[in-house]
């Protein structure tokens, strides 16, 4: 929700504010999951033991697996616990029929993984022009190579990315700028069901992240032959300190290479600055993004980069546990961030909530990024213990006021439902020019939040076609300039354990404006498109 007050005169300001409010008010999200034919029901495990495993699942993805220009849906599922229990749950793939409905194609596509699923990442790792799916599981991950004919094959073991740890989020990135998508996998805890013992204590038997050591994250370098090599240590991103849940990738220091941020639960977060030589440096302390405003580690769940103030620098949001505010870090340049959660107005609302999936997105296409957070407590019985909290919580949309602050725009915009949400994916599944949202709700059906009214104003959709194996242009930086310059980067890894649309969608400030689009590809080359025609998706090739 952008407000412009260029002349500073009260009358004009009032008019502009009214106009902005009207635009935001015209946007409404409608949960169309059921009518769209998505009959998936999430299985949290139902062990009755209160395994910590049952608190974090699961994520989801928007991806165009069949290359028909329509976003399909991948839903990650838990499974019956303990693993020996009879299980009927599996991940699911829904093909977009192009008419607002979806068809379950899980079986024919062969992507119905039955491990205890946490999240997914998407990308064309083998450069064959179609989107592959990496599934993060408790204990063993899957890499579904897209066969290009509507089917997939799990090649995780052969590719060397099966990863025996409890993985949460994954991100396909070209960290070494060799044109191939590498893979960063955030791992959570060294927890084994076989060794489980109740943690006891006055609050019951639930164990928290503090009861288990962390599991180190892994960076896999793409060898270009269908296999990956674990380069975690040599790249400088090994740490036994983390308990990773969310991963965000972006070039926060604008030096042309992708940096990696990890939201850790119960321990400090990580910001790995890419040195440009295949190695990273942990700059978390210096950058000021590892802790709360008071210098305390928090329960980090999800993370996302985005330039919410249109200053050309990627800012950062981190969703956190209850009684911690979600951290909004403004990129001040020079490698420094400041925590503006309180002054930007996102702190107070988030305090009682447990935040998970998140993203900066321009829901009303007014040329500034709003902020979505999926919420839900992890303790099913929390309300009996804490009168300020509930297991089911509302998802929240913070509307950007165009002046560096946010106001809540949730309930009146169709986000009044309360569920215990986890991962969220973002993309324009109906190709109407506004961003829709897919949310996984634990133990329930997902929400497919169709954005109605977001495309009333002008917009521009951009599909990048990279040279070589990185066909989707992952890591490219795109600026769209009208009166204002907006900056975005291409990534599918956003928020928590989920994969989003690789296409970019820009709201245009003025009706009828003809923006200039500039692309800085991860190879370093640039492409400029003058006077792009709005209200359509355009394709830009490297």
């Amino acid at each position: 929700m952008r407000r412009r007050c260029g002349l500073g005169r009260a009358a004009i300001l009032t008019l502009v504010l009214l106009a902005a409010s009207t635009r935001a008010a015209s946007v409404r999200f409608t949960d169309v999951a059921a009518e769209a034919g998505i009959d998936f029901v999430h299985d949290i495990g139902r062990s009755g033991k209160g395994y910590i495993l049952e608190t974090v699942a699961s994520g989801c993805g928007f991806l165009d697996y069949d290359g028909d220009g329509l976003l399909d849906i991948y839903l990650v599922n838990g499974r019956a616990l303990p693993p020996s229990a009879p299980n009927a749950s599996a991940n699911a793939l829904y093909r977009n029929n192009g008419d607002g409905t979806f068809t379950d194609v899980t079986a024919e596509a062969g992507v119905g993984d039955t491990g205890y699923g946490v999240g997914c990442a998407t990308g064309d790792y083998d450069g064959d022009g179609d989107t592959d799916i990496y599934v993060t599981n408790f204990e063993r991950n899957a890499l579904y190579r897209n066969n290009g004919d509507g089917t997939f094959t799990d090649v995780a073991a052969a590719a060397g990315v099966a990863c025996a740890a409890w993985s949460s989020s994954g991100a396909f990135v070209d960290y070494n700028a060799d044109g191939r998508l590498d893979l960063y996998v955030a791992n959570y805890l060294a927890f084994r069901i076989e060794d489980y013992e109740p943690c006891g204590g006055r609050l019951g038997t639930d164990c928290g992240p503090g009861d288990y050591p962390g599991a180190a994250d892994v960076l896999y370098r793409n060898n270009g032959d269908g296999t990956f090599t674990d380069v975690t240590r040599e790249a400088g991103v090994h740490s036994d300190e983390g308990k990773g849940l969310g991963v965000a990738v972006g070039d926060y220091d604008d030096d042309g290479d992708v940096d990696i941020y990890v939201a850790n639960d119960d321990t400090r977060n990580f910001l790995y600055r890419n040195n440009g030589d295949g190695t990273f440096e942990d700059v978390t302390f210096w950058a000021g993004v590892g802790f709360s405003e008071h210098g305390e580690p928090e329960g980090g769940m999800g993370a996302a980069f985005g330039d919410y103030d249109n200053d050309g620098r990627l800012d950062l949001v981190v969703t956190n546990y209850q009684d911690q505010v979600n951290s909004l870090y403004r990129n001040e340049g020079g490698g420094l961030f400041s925590d503006v959660s309180h002054t930007a107005g996102t702190a107070l609302l988030t305090y009682p909530l447990v935040g998970w999936g998140t993203a900066f997105l321009d829901v009303d296409n007014d040329a500034d990024l709003d902020l979505f957070v999926a919420n839900g407590h992890l303790l099913v019985n929390v309300a009996g213990r804490d009168s300020t909290s509930t297991y089911a919580q509302p998802d929240v949309l913070y509307m950007n006021d165009g002046h560096g602050a946010f106001v809540e725009g949730g309930p009146e915009m169709g986000l009044a439902a309360v569920r215990s949400s986890r991962g969220a994916a973002f993309g324009d599944y109906d190709n109407d020019g506004d961003t829709d949202i897919l949310v996984v709700n634990t133990g329930e059906a997902p929400s497919l939040l169709r954005n109605d009214g977001g495309s009333d104003g002008d917009w521009l959709g951009i599909t990048l076609v990279g040279r070589g194996a990185n066909r989707a242009g992952i890591g490219a930086r795109v600026t769209v300039t009208t009166d204002v310059t907006q900056t975005r980067e291409v990534t599918t890894a956003v928020g928590y354990a989920s994969a989003s649309d690789a296409r970019l969608l820009f709201g245009l400030e003025k009706q009828g404006s003809a923006p200039t689009v500039s692309v800085r590809w991860s190879s370093g080359s640039t492409t400029v498109v003058e006077s792009a025609r709005p209200r359509r998706y355009i394709s830009i090739s490297e």
Binding site: G200, E241, W286, G288, E293, H294, G295, L336, H342, S387
Partner: protein, 476 residues
């Protein structure tokens, strides 16, 4: 920013009311004039000696089962030690004996608030206020209950009532500052913090609040100035260092930022090492190994007051817990706090009557406070317990030498110590005893051996040189 309140010694207030006294000073004076277990408990509580306070209050409870005060004392001590279950039981015991007991309601409110049982906490604070409308502490507790739930108008109202009763309540001003900061009224927050600071100069929480708000306002230089005061007053203020580092970085002073960040990192790392043990204590506050591990971390970080606090907590759980007694003695010895060391060493010998180190500590500390006979007895016991341990011989020889007594025996003892282990310190003792006995050649030889064994020790060098200058026959 966290919302907290300073808890005054409500027990003293309660005793004042109980005893028909109306002033704080009167209550303190009355308590000190008596030697009852209750008064002892109060004195120990006031001086932060929770283990002894708990023992005294329990003794008081055994002696007077009808009075609610010993239960209240146990409750307040247990609350201070973090044993919320026990504290709750004790306070409820006090209330069963005297339902119209505002301090007990207030304390119970505090415990329930810590447990996030907000409705019950509010109920107890309201009862306390109904019983005593001018009870400032209860108003503050009520305010904090609301503030924790982010019910800011209600919190503000409670704090303002507290201030109406006593405008000099700095905690209420500070708490109002925190509420204003949460509500985004940064100017009002600063004003409230400054009022708190005027009432309580050097208040670290108020200063930190101002520093943080200045940082949010991007008034970086003023933030730096304030946060520098925070860490000067409290070098362990992790949040202060964190924000100071950020402020330095924002103001383009990278070297200062790095330095402040290093301080922050060290404190963060200590917290990380403590975390698993604290987690254990969350489930069981009486877990002694966890508390002992925390103590060791504090000792490693040279945070003696924190270490002593943890030791006190251990000793409140088990007054004869030898590792805690041992650590307590060593801390006081290292700080040359001989009287304290003497007290704790005596306890350690009772807890570990067969432990040679306990008697060595007792010997050292007793000798230092002039209790020579006790020191001699302790060293003899140490030698008896472990005849091949040289320290007892050496220390006893040194004690005799220092007091110029039993020098013949001292010589034998020192020779024995050196015979077992020719450590420089033992050679130095032997040299001094020889000198005191007038055997200068032997004294010089022993001093030379000490210096040879530890050539960089300036004391041995000086002594060796001094012995060279003494003419034969100059001895005593």
């Amino acid at each position: 920013m966290s919302i907290g309140r300073t808890h005054a010694a409500a027990l003293v207030v309660a005793l004042a009311v109980w005893g028909g006294l109306t002033t704080w000073a009167g209550a303190q004076a009355a308590a000190r004039e008596t030697s009852t277990p209750l008064a002892r408990g109060l004195a120990m509580y006031e001086s932060g000696r929770m283990a002894e306070a708990l023992i005294a209050f329990r003794e008081a409870a055994d002696g007077d089962t009808a009075s609610p005060m010993p239960d209240f004392g146990v409750g307040i001590v247990c609350a201070a030690l973090g044993w919320l279950d026990r504290a709750e039981d004790a306070l409820e015991g006090a209330l069963s004996k005297r339902p119209a007991f505002p301090e007990a309601h207030d304390e119970l409110g505090d415990i329930l608030l810590r447990r996030r049982e907000f409705r019950d906490a509010e109920s107890h604070y309201r009862t306390a206020i109904a019983l005593r409308p001018d009870y400032v502490e209860a108003h503050l507790g009520l305010g904090l209950t609301f503030a924790t739930q982010r019910m800011f108008p209600e919190a503000r109202h409670a704090y303002e009532l507290a201030l109406a009763l006593d405008p000099s309540t700095s905690t209420a001003h500070r708490s109002l500052g925190e509420v204003h900061a949460w509500e985004g009224d940064l100017a009002a927050a600063i004003s409230a913090y400054e009022r708190a600071l005027a009432l309580e100069p050097g208040s670290v929480p108020a200063l930190y609040g101002i520093g943080l708000v200045k940082l949010r306002q991007r008034v970086t230089d003023e933030a730096i100035e304030t946060l520098e005061r925070v860490v000067a007053l409290d070098p362990q203020h992790k949040s202060g260092w964190h924000n100071l580092a950020k402020a330095y970085a924002a103001s383009g002073r990278p070297e200062l930022a790095e330095s402040a960040m290093a301080e922050f990192e060290a404190l963060h790392e200590l917290d990380e090492r403590l975390k698993p043990h604290l987690r254990t204590l969350e489930a069981d506050p009486t877990d002694l190994p966890a508390r002992y591990a925390i103590t060791k971390e504090y000792l490693r970080a040279e945070r003696m007051p924190d270490a002593i606090r943890e030791l006190d907590r251990m000793l409140a759980i088990d007054p004869m817990f030898a590792p805690a007694l041992d650590a307590r003695v060593r801390i006081h010895l290292s700080l040359e706090e001989w009287s304290e060391a003497h007290v704790w060493a005596a306890r350690l010998t009772r807890a570990r009557p067969d432990n040679v180190m306990a008697f060595l500590y007792l010997g050292m500390s007793a000798g230092a406070v002039g209790a020579v006979d006790e020191a001699v007895g302790a060293y003899r016991r140490a030698i008896q317990l472990k005849p091949d341990e040289p320290t007892g011989y050496n220390n006893l020889a040194w004690l005799f030498y220092q007091n110029r007594m039993r020098l013949d025996e001292a010589e034998t003892l020192a020779e024995r110590a050196v015979g077992i282990e020719p450590k420089p310190a033992y050679l130095d003792t032997l040299s001094r005893v020889y000198e005191a006995q007038g055997r200068l050649a032997q004294a010089l030889a022993a001093a030379a051996r000490a210096l040879a064994a530890d050539p960089n020790n300036p004391a041995y060098r000086a002594r060796h040189e001094a012995l060279h200058t003494i003419e034969p026959g100059d001895g005593p």
